[in-house]
Every structure is written in structure tokens, then in C-alpha cells.
């Protein structure tokens, strides 16, 4: 099997969302998704990563992740490039699952559970109590609010008046007044505060039995976050903004993170979240995947949640799930009465609806080139071996032993052979 082209899909109605479809010569199409600065991701998919993978066997997910990460990390990994890698990685896993005829979780370790609890994110300043009642009636046992996010703005999080804090916590009080302990409440700070203000907030919220304190501070310094954890009885939870296992590592190892919240479509896709989950499990720390983005992310997170032992709970935004997700994917998420169920279809478990491509606000871009635009410049170290090989740019230095040169050529020949064999498999 070979990757033949990369297709990205964006719509004006949801300007942050981008879907990535990886096409193969067998007709299988893998679906991935990311969110945030979509046009920048689009460029990274087509101009940077896609052209490296066209022509390759899609099943070698780990090799592709490694090559994409190295290509990105040459100039410092992160941002839109990691989001592009994440979306592509998901799509490759989707292809693998479809090829094997099973949901992805079967390939990751098999089901350790058939369903996982979801919590509902977001809500209004006034009416939080009513919302909590509605959620409880719907079978949902946890919710997340961010009451302190906005009051950080005037001082950039450097000063917090106790009166403002008290006022901001009204929704939390309303929820407890309305439903008592029938619902768990998590607090999200969006990384707005300095350390003393973060401690001030955590302390003020102690009476409300907070499920976790998430991202009260920017995630720049594990020692500082540990001081916050030591100052509160609520578990500190981090964070969708940490990218790859290497950024999570220090927070997990030093004990600052008691709950780990990777965003699958930002941090490196299914491959990387699985590794983060394994690392967390070695420290007896649970994983609660991040959402608030798009429908395909939750499908991918469902695959993780069914297959890792240390999954805690899954985020979702109820108005999205009941609203615009229905316009874009088929099937929609298997969420019922507060539970996310294991997807049944082979692969990631859902497809983009055909009508998405007929919308007037859709931007579809396709690339099938296997050499990066503007290449080759043989002097640049960073391009992948495949590209250098394809472009004929790569030469071994003079003076190398024949054995060494032959060994490198063997590897290229081996990779080329893999492509040829996968071609003949199909024919």
C-alpha cells in the first residue's frame, strides 16, 4: 500500500478546524483533524510533511512520526507543525485500522473498557445552577468551568483582588447550591496567573471540592507548578499546551502533575498520546484527554481511552456534540447518558460527510508531490533521507570505505524495495 495524496478540508463556519485526509492507492482514506491557526497547519501539511510521505507505506506509523518530528525539530518543534503531525498521525492510524478491519484501540492493546465517563465543558456566568441540573438529569457527573480566566486580563494575571475573585466564583457557588455533590467540578485557568495568584485561587476554591485545578499558571516551569500542587488539596492537572512526551516528562516526574491532559490533535497524535499515557502510568498518574475542538479528536481520544489502563474521564463540549458535529461527521460520537462508548467501525470510527465538500465555504487543497517544492538544495542537512534519495541530491562523502557507503545504499534500496513490494501486493 502507498500514500498517494494529502487532502486538507477547511470551512468558513469553523475557521480553526482543519481535516486532513490521507489517500492511498488501495482506495482507503485516513481521516485526521486539528484545530487552531488552520491555514498555517494547511501549509505545514502540504509543503512540509505531506510531500515527504507521498509514496510511502502508510502502515509504518512510527517511522513516519519519527521522520516528521525530526524534520520539525530541526528548527525547534511545536505549534502548527506539531498539530500537522498530529492530524497526519491520526489519519495513518485510521488507515491501519481500516486495513486490519478493526477499531484502532484493538491495535493499541485491545479494550480495557467498553465505555468511559465524559464531563461537560463550559457554561454561562448566570445560570450555572440550571446547567448543572440539566447535566445531572442527562447522566453527566462532571463539568468544567473557567470562572477566573477573564479577571486575569486587566493585570495580565499579576494581581488579583479578593473581591473580584469572590464575584467570579459565583457560578461555582450556584452549582453547589443547585445540585450539591451530584456533580464534580473542574476549574480551568487557561494559564493566566502568576504563582501567588494561582495559590490564592486554589485556596479560595477549596470549600467547593474541586475535581482538579487545570492550567492556573503557564506551563513554563515544573518547579513553580509543584509549589502550587503543594499548596492545594485539589489535584493539579496539566495540560493541552504541552507538546510531546518530552514536555510532559518533567511535570510528571517531579510530581507537579497529578492528572495529565494531553490534547491528541496538538501534542503528536495517537502515537504520542499513547506514549504519554504509558509514561504517566509509570508514575501512577491518570490521563484525561483534552477536547473542545472537533469531532474526530474525540473519536481518536475514545480509541486511547478504551485501550489504556489509566484513562480517567473524557472531555466534551455538549453544544458542539449536539450541534455542529452533526453537520460534518457520520456517525457522530457514541455518547449516551454521560458515557462515551467504544467506536465500532474499523479505523478511527467516523468519516467526513460527503456534503461537507459541497459547501460554499469549503476550502479543499490536495497535494500529491513527493518532492518538497523548491528542492533540492543538497547542502541542507535537514531534509529527509527519502527526499534526498528521490531527488538524487544525496551523495556520500569522498573517502568513505566502500562498506560504509554500501551500507547506506542498502538502506535506501531496502526502503525502495518496500515500496515496490507493497505495489506488487496490491496488483
Amino acid at each position: 500500500m502507498r500514500i498517494t495524496k494529502f487532502e486538507t478540508v477547511r470551512v468558513g463556519e469553523q475557521p480553526h478546524i482543519i481535516w486532513v485526509r490521507v489517500h492511498t492507492d488501495t482506495g482507503l482514506i485516513g481521516l485526521g483533524e486539528s484545530f487552531y491557526a488552520a491555514s498555517t497547519i494547511e501549509s505545514a501539511v502540504h509543503d512540509h510533511f505531506g510531500c515527504m510521505l507521498v509514496g510511502r507505506d502508510p502502515l509504518a506509523t512510527e517511522r513516519h512520526w519519527m521522520d516528521m518530528f525530526k524534520l520539525s525539530d530541526h528548527a525547534g518543534y511545536g505549534g502548527a507543525e506539531m498539530r500537522a503531525i498530529s492530524a497526519i498521525d491520526m489519519a495513518l492510524w485510521d488507515i491501519k485500522g481500516q486495513h486490519a478491519g478493526v477499531p484502532i484501540y484493538e491495535l493499541l492493546g485491545g479494550g480495557v473498557r467498553k465505555k468511559i465517563r465524559v464531563y461537560a465543558t463550559g457554561g454561562p456566568y448566570n445560570g450555572a445552577g440550571d446547567l448543572a441540573k440539566e447535566l445531572v438529569d442527562d447522566g453527566i457527573i462532571a463539568m468544567k468551568y473557567g470562572p477566573t480566566i477573564t479577571i486575569a486580563t486587566p493585570t495580565d494575571g499579576q494581581l488579583l483582588h479578593p473581591k473580584d475573585l469572590d464575584f467570579a466564583l459565583k457560578p461555582i457557588r450556584d452549582i453547589r447550591d443547585a445540585v450539591g455533590d451530584d456533580i464534580m467540578i473542574a476549574n480551568d485557568g487557561h494559564g493566566k496567573w502568576a504563582l501567588p495568584q494561582a495559590i490564592q485561587i486554589a485556596e479560595a476554591m477549596e470549600p467547593y471540592d474541586i475535581m482538579w485545578q487545570e492550567d492556573l499558571m503557564p506551563l513554563m516551569n515544573p518547579s513553580a507548578l509543584l509549589r502550587l500542587q503543594e499548596a492545594t488539596s485539589a489535584p493539579v492537572c496539566i495540560s493541552e499546551r504541552l507538546l510531546s512526551r518530552w514536555q510532559f516528562r518533567e511535570f510528571i516526574e517531579n510530581g507537579a502533575a497529578r492528572i495529565v491532559m494531553p490534547d491528541l490533535i496538538w501534542t503528536g497524535g495517537i502515537s504520542e498520546v499513547y506514549k504519554i499515557a504509558v509514561m504517566a502510568s509509570a508514575h501512577q498518574v491518570p490521563v484525561a484527554p483534552h477536547d473542545a475542538t472537533g469531532p474526530v479528536n474525540i473519536f481518536a481520544c475514545a480509541q486511547i481511552c478504551m485501550s489504556i489502563p489509566n484513562a480517567m474521564i473524557m472531555e466534551h463540549v455538549r453544544p458542539f456534540f449536539h450541534g455542529w458535529y452533526n453537520d460534518f461527521v457520520e456517525p457522530n460520537l457514541p455518547i449516551e447518558h454521560g458515557w462515551l462508548h467504544a467506536p465500532q467501525e474499523p479505523g478511527i470510527g467516523t468519516r467526513l460527510k460527503a456534503q461537507v465538500f459541497e459547501r460554499s465555504d469549503v476550502t479543499v487543497k490536495v497535494s500529491d508531490k513527493d518532492v518538497r517544492v523548491g528542492l533540492p538544495d543538497e547542502n541542507l542537512e535537514c531534509y529527509s533521507e527519502d527526499q534526498r534519495f528521490k531527488s538524487g541530491a544525496y551523495t556520500t562523502p569522498d573517502g568513505w570505505s566502500e562498506e560504509m557507503t554500501a551500507e547506506v545504499h542498502d538502506i535506501w534500496a531496502y526502503r525502495k524495495q518496500q515500496i515496490i513490494e507493497s505495489d506488487s501486493d496490491q496488483s
Binding site: D398, S401, I411
Partner: protein, 405 residues
Amino acid sequence: MKITQIKTIRVAQFPDVIWVEVHTDAGIVGLGETWYAATTVEAAIHDFFGPLLIDKDPHEVEGHWQTMFRLSDHAGYGGAELRAISALDIALWDIKGQALKLPIYELIGGVTRHRIRVYNTLGVYGDIKDGYDVWRDPVGVAKNLLDEGIRGMKMSPTDFIARSSDGQLLFKKDLDRALKPIRDIRDALGMDIQIANDGHGKWNLPNAIRIVKDMEPLKPMWHEELISPLNEDAHLRLQRETITPIAVAERLMTGYQHRRFIESGAARIVMPDLTWTGGISETRKIAILASTHQLPIAPHDCVGPVNMFACAHICVSQPNVMIMEYNRAMAQGWYGEFVDPMFKVIDGFLMAPEGSGLGTRLRPEISERPDATVRFSNEPRDSWLTSPQRYTYPPEDLRTEFSQG
């Protein structure tokens, strides 16, 4: 003064370089640059960061940096977005310097020196083929550098032998062969020339330790990125195995990532890439952070001419600068075709730039080249992060109850 337009320019001849010009209503134009995945940087500048700056006062460099960084960090900072921020930051400093009629270095501390030593990274461009020649005639390359007054060079002798195993297996005989050029130089010229070793992050820890041990008799100037800077503990283990300083590294993004390597003792030389890590603003902060741990910085190049100018301002103003990277193949080969004036390297020293601001301009004819892609942004847009309409905000009528609205 207000920013009126953001313009990006790239050319197919060098597909990874992108220049950004920030235009103002005062007629002052600021110039910035970055390198790598230029089309992705271009999208980030026009669709994400640039419109935030339009109609704003260019003097508020720190505020603009924070706004852009927060917008990026909402989904995890780094990569092309941080390169876009870096290029825009350089351009803003350029505007500020021109408006005040002072070189940028005067604004970030004034001169602590008038020139900085450079070392040559062995590149290949045009007639200069240091990267190839060093395998055939290492002593000749070293002598040629010394004749130019350059007393340091950087080579990546182990890149090639890491390829076949992805850096997971190192064969002793291959390492011996890879180090032969450096041995030849030491045998012929002794310590006349300093030699830095760049590993481009290709090895695992035990192989990196093997390399630093085997290279000990060759007395390298530093070891750089034998392992990728993903784990400062691993780097510290490597540093503990050798007397040679460990340099890290152009791929660390912002002072936040540098901090871990500096505080843990893993880095003995700090090598930010100004056009990747966050521009002049962030590189200066990294220099300050390094200085509190008594460490030098040695800015990274192999990017483009504007980076050299920006780094020159850092190098002549910050007290703890060791040496500046210089790629003579690129600098003498093509940098001069794009900027006017060109920076000066004399007798192995990069000289302080002259004139106000950055000290150079992109040649106007570059935008007219047939292989040029030029894109403009003219429309302002506010960051959704600071929008007054967020769904998490209390209704308007309740906001008066807050003491800080």
C-alpha cells in the same frame, strides 16, 4: 506611529528563507527574517500574527511579543509560529532603532565591544566547498581559514555514520574514520584552530558519551547537540562524562526551554537561534538568564544575512558573548545579493553594524525577481484572546461590579 502593512518576500532559489517587512505610516520600514518551512511561516504571519500588529504602535515591542506568544501558546508554542514571531520582533526593533536614529545595540545596553570573533561552519555554496573539502584536505581548509584570520571552525563529522541506525548503534571503526579530518588538523596545526563538533541531535545517550570520550584528546571547542535537547537530565549526564563544554542549542524555543538546560548545568555554552527562538527580545533575555549562571552565549547562524545583523547587535551589547557563528560559503556566496549594505567580517571578527536600526535593507529588486513570492497584509484584526466578546465573560451590566474591568 502606526503599523500599516506587513509584507513577506521569499524566493524559490532559497525556498526556506523568508523576509518580513513591517511598514509604518511614518515611512519607516522594519526588516525581519527567518528560515525553515517558509510557506508555513508565511501563513502564520499573514493569517495569525501580522494582522494583530496593523494599526498598532510599533514601539511597544515587548507588548506585541507577549500578545503574539500567548496567541501561539494557547495550543502549545513553537515551530513555524515562533519563527514568525521572531521575524516580526526583529522588524519591530529595526523600526524602533530607525525612529530613534540609533543602532539597535544602543537600545539594548550599548556597546560592551565593537566586534566579536566568528568561527566558520563548514558549508558548501558556489566556489566555497568547505563541507566537502574538509574530508579530502582538512589541513588545507583549516589553513585557509587561518589565513582569513578565522581561528575557529565547526564540523559535523558524525552525521553520516548516524544515518543507517538512526543513531542507535555506533561502530568504533566508523567513528575512527569519521574523526580522521580532525586528527589530521591537530597533527599538522596543533591547537592553532579551535574545532567545534555539531551532532545535529542524531545520537542516543550512550553513543554520544562514546563520541565525547573518543574526542577528548582532540580537544574540541564544544560538543553541540550530539543528542537532541529533549531532556536536560540526559544532557547533564553527557556533560558529566567530558571536560569539553556542551553547547545547547538552536532548537530550544524561548528562555523557558533554555532555562532548564542552564539551571540544571546541562548547558555550558548557550546557542540560541535568534530567528527561531523569539527574536531580539527573547535572545537578549536568554543572554541575561545565561549570565546569571556565568555562562556565555554563542548565537547560531546558517540562516540568512538579516540574522547575522540581528545577532551582531546582541553580540556587541550583551556582556556574556563568546563567539558568533559564520558560514562563509553562504555569506560570501549569496547573502550580499539580498541585503545592502552587507555586514562586515574583518580579520575573523564580525563588526558592529553601522547606521540606525538593524543596519541593512532588503534590496528592493528582490521583490521584482521572477522567482519571488510577495504577500501583503493590510487589514487589522484583534486577538480573540483579548476580545471583549468572549463567552466566558460576565454580561456587560455585571462588569461594573469588578474593581478591575
